[in-house]
Amino acid sequence: MSWWLPLKASTFAGEIDGLFTAVLIITGIAFVVVEFGLVWFSLKYRSRPGRAAYYTHGNTKAEIIWTAIPAVTVVALGLISNHYWKQMKGRDSVPADSYPIGVHAKQFEWQYTYPGPDGKLGTTDDYTIRNQLHVPVNRNVVVILTSEDVIHSFFVPVFRVKQDAVPGLTIRAWFNATVPGEYELGCAELCGMGHYKMRTRVTVHTQVDFDAWVKTQAQGGSE
């Protein structure tokens, strides 16, 4: 158990964690100012015999200050976020050279279709595996999400990537895994009684391992 964000295992993770920390600092400052202010005012101005309240209806200058500062801060945050958002999810953000994997979500399991040795989906050498996502390291991977029945959500915490799979739509989401290892994927959108069981083992291979794995799969060899 860690008190911070999970392992940074994709190119997104660095940017998202950085933004997270920035927002944490800004909101942290606001948090301390307000909570400390409340406690301090409560102690300093608590009622004592002979104490009288200061009769005032407000101060326009103060109002302007604490409207402008939050406004500028949040709009700045908005623009920075938008910059990353366009990179990660923008209309044409999926890099052209991405390795395509067809992900078909259905009630309570994921079907992963791999392009096979020829690297192209939709050819005869594709093969489908249940609940196992194998990706090469340091390569852009695009996940082509379809759903058979209800809304599911493709979510790998260590890659910081999440995208709903909506029945009737084909949605593409890309990421680039950077740390080889074995991780887990869970469905993040309530999809029925087996929602909690839609677990996928995510394996990030080095390029060599990945090619070997593809070869074994192509010959119909099992795991």
Binding site: K106, F108, E109, Q111, I129, G192, G194
Partner: protein, 239 residues
């Protein structure tokens, strides 16, 4: 086009027993036995990828294969549901037996794959795997249900209307399928590996007997039963 091979070997010998009384526990009476044969190309059953479900995978030495078409060594077709479709004396009622019919989920597969149950009889759905299975019964005449079993437990269900073939499936394991028939009478049987079946205790009369298979459809045969054995064979042909 599936070709129907309707081979009907009806033994002529009919041994009458006596007037069939209306509703009585059929102790003796005619029996219909037979064999369901399979001709043609035996389809190769795809392997089931249970690698992610270790609890089930380790229950198999050889990788499990799909169970939709199982042909025995002698060419007998298993998992064929044979039952009396029509011809029972009108108004005859058969009390549902108290003992529940069991269907077990062991090794991420349904045991049995095809089964019959009487209206009002309890179906005891057992979960020997101890992992989550959900049972979705896509019934039409009966109330459909979709219940889950997260651990080893038994869920009882009963059915109110006769319905031949309610598909049962588990959504957590897409390959798990079973077929349940609900009948108002006890005259049904599922063929074993050798493709043989026997319907016992039939009061004399002419009956249409139907053989149902999940992939090759249904075939019917009419059999007149007096007392003593009758035979009715079926042959399904793979394309």
């Amino acid at each position: 086009m599936r070709k129907f091979g309707l081979v009907l070997a009806v033994a002529a010998g009919v041994v009458g027993l006596g007037a069939a009384r209306q509703s009585r526990t059929p102790v003796q009476g005619g029996t219909v036995t037979g064999k369901v044969k399979f001709t043609g190309v035996k389809p190769a059953m795809p392997k089931i990828d249970m690698s992610d479900e270790t609890v089930c995978a380790k229950k198999y030495t050889t990788p499990p294969t799909d169970e939709s078409v199982i042909v025995g060594p002698a060419g007998g077709l298993a998992n064929v549901f044979v039952y009396v479709k029509a011809g029972l004396p009108a108004g005859a009622t058969y009390p549902a037996p108290a003992t529940p019919v069991e269907i077990d989920q062991d090794g991420c597969r349904y045991h049995p794959h095809v089964l019959g149950i009487m209206v009002g009889q309890t179906l005891a759905i057992k979960n020997a795997d101890g992992i989550l299975h959900n049972i979705k019964a896509k019934a039409v005449k009966n109330r459909p249900f979709n219940v889950s079993q997260p651990t080893s437990m038994t869920t009882p269900r009963t059915f109110t209307a006769p319905e031949v073939m309610i598909p049962l499936e588990c959504n957590v394991h897409g390959w798990m399928h079973a077929w349940l028939a609900v009948l108002p009478h006890p005259f049904y049987a599922v063929t074993g590996a050798d493709g043989s079946f026997s319907l016992k205790g039939l009061p004399p009369g002419t009956y249409t007997i139907e053989a149902w298979h999940e992939k090759y459809g249904t075939q019917t045969a009419t059999v007149t039963v007096t007392a003593g054995p009758k035979t009715a064979d079926f042959t399904f042909t793979g394309k």
